[in-house]
């Protein structure tokens, strides 16, 4: 991480370019030396701050400002319920990385009981439906579909009417009923792709880590899953991966009898579930 480099704009300042105290080519007075030290100190202090704000070259920066996104894909997720053990590491990672309040579980792991009495764990995230009911009802188009087909919320436009929460059949949306106390450590400009910090009085939900996947980085929940139960895929390229294994998406879904939640509601969700109850916990 290069702390001392400012933006990739024209005003690049390298620490090495600042006048050095011992440089024989520069005749400096004591005042000039003090100024130089102050400037260096300022650059040292401002570097991390501005670097976090405008870092373009670090792929770990969620805002990815200044980077060119990869071409759009028709995203899908597959959750293998044979492998989910309900550890909720996906929830923790998502909440930590997005600086979410504790009750906002963008990926929420339910422990459900099926009709035979067997318990199984089911992580539920936003389905990013291709015919999303939440997008239809928003009065100010604060909820929209972005170029990758993902459903995002612009918290600068949201008026907090919560009709989208009423319309979502998957309970995937959360509301900031109060000022969120968890904030990113450095001031960042919240965008629909990376809505941190969350705004009081607006709606938040899983963004499918669009801020990562547009730049070739895996979603945080997928990386945190130690069981390899979460897959991300492309419906057009017909491929899916959980970070380690790569499968052909169409045959993976059909061979494992994958289903979508509430299929009859015709929302066309992008998240498939491979039915199971943790029987494949040895992976």
């Amino acid at each position: 991480m290069r702390y001392f480099t400012l933006t990739a704009q024209s005003d690049r300042v390298d620490l090495a370019e600042l006048p050095q105290v011992g440089d024989s080519a520069v005749r400096m007075s004591r005042r000039q030396a003090l100024l130089a030290l102050a400037a260096a100190g300022g650059a040292l202090a401002a570097g991390p701050l501005l670097g976090a704000l405008v870092q373009g070259s670090d792929p770990a920066d969620p805002t990815h400002q200044g980077m060119e996104p990869l071409p759009p894909r028709r995203w899908a997720m597959v959750i293998d319920l044979r492998r989910c053990d309900g550890c909720k590491k996906c929830t923790e990672a998502c909440q930590a990385k997005h600086y979410l309040p504790p009750q906002q579980e963008w990926i929420k792991v339910y422990t459900l009981r099926d009709r035979t009495g067997a318990e199984f764990n089911m992580p539920r995230l936003c389905m990013h439906c291709e015919d999303a009911p939440c997008v239809r009802v928003c009065p100010v188009t604060a909820t929209f579909v972005d170029r990758d087909g993902l459903v995002l919320v612009d918290q600068d436009k949201c008026i907090g009417c919560r009709l989208c929460m009423a319309a979502c059949p998957y309970e995937a949306r959360y509301f900031n009923w109060t000022e969120p106390k968890t904030r990113p450590p450095l001031p960042t400009k919240a965008t629909p792709e990376f809505p941190s910090p969350q705004q009081r009085g607006t709606v938040g939900k899983c963004v499918l880590c669009v801020h990562n996947i547009k730049f070739g980085q895996l979603p945080y929940c997928l990386e945190a899953c130690t069981m390899g139960a979460i897959y991300i895929g492309d419906l057009d390229a017909d491929v899916a991966t959980n970070g380690t294994e790569t499968v052909r998406l169409s045959s993976f879904l059909s061979e494992n009898n994958a289903i979508r939640l509430k299929e009859e509601l015709n929302t066309k969700p992008r998240v498939w579930y491979i039915p199971g109850h943790g029987e494949d916990l040895e992976w």
Binding site: D236, V239, T246, S250
Partner: protein, 204 residues
């Protein structure tokens, strides 16, 4: 003479040992590495027939499973399984491949043998007639969607026009001097409105 024969035996044995050391792998028990020859055939319906010929040391290998893989750039370079096929008597494994996205694709054939995994050289094909495996579903009610907004907006505008007409017609009609001048039909009311309690007390 016996010393010579002994020396010759030792020499030949060591020569044999040296020779066996020098040659790569055991002469009798080690197989030569398999070779996979990969080729494709573009069919009329846009699909491709993938053929891999498996030979080992010049001899074709039959009844072996060959896996075909496609290279994708998806969160890094990954190889996606296309499918498997078993080599026939001629050592050829054939697999039909229906590409799901257009563009240039790299395919390889892979043989997982007991002595390791061997890949063929990558083969590039250019796909122009891909059939998506999971196509996008069509929109519901397209005609209603197209007409709903124009019709609704037209009704709304008509309602607002009606309200405006109703209001203006009344107010302007009342305010116009000509209509105000005509003689009134109703009898003139007597007296101003009074708030004196004596008037109303008779009503209680």
């Amino acid at each position: 003479m016996r010393r010579n024969v002994l020396a010759a035996c030792v020499l030949s044995i060591s020569a044999l040992a040296l020779a066996s050391l020098a040659t790569p792998g055991p002469v009798a028990a080690v197989d030569p590495p398999p070779r996979l020859q990969f080729e494709t055939e573009h069919r009329d319906d846009g699909t491709w027939m993938l053929r891999a010929t498996l030979t080992r040391g010049g001899a074709v290998q039959s009844q072996e499973t060959i896996e075909f893989l496609q290279r994708v750039d998806f969160f890094g370079e990954r190889w996606v399984p296309v499918g498997t096929a078993v080599t026939d008597a001629a050592g050829i494994a054939s697999r039909l491949y229906s590409p799901t996205s257009n563009g240039v694709q790299q395919l390889i054939a892979r043989f997982a043998a007991s002595d390791g995994t061997f890949d063929s050289d990558p083969f590039e094909i250019t796909v122009s007639r891909a059939v998506p495996a999971i196509p996008q579903e069509p929109q519901v009610l397209p005609v209603v969607r197209a007409w709903a907004f124009p019709v609704g907006a037209a009704i709304l505008v008509l309602v607002w026009l009606a309200l405006a007409v109703i209001f203006l017609r009344a107010v302007i009609g009342v305010a116009r001097p000509e209509s105000a001048k005509a003689t009134a039909i109703a009898p003139t009311r007597e007296g101003p409105v009074e708030s004196s309690p004596k008037q109303t007390s008779s009503m209680e």
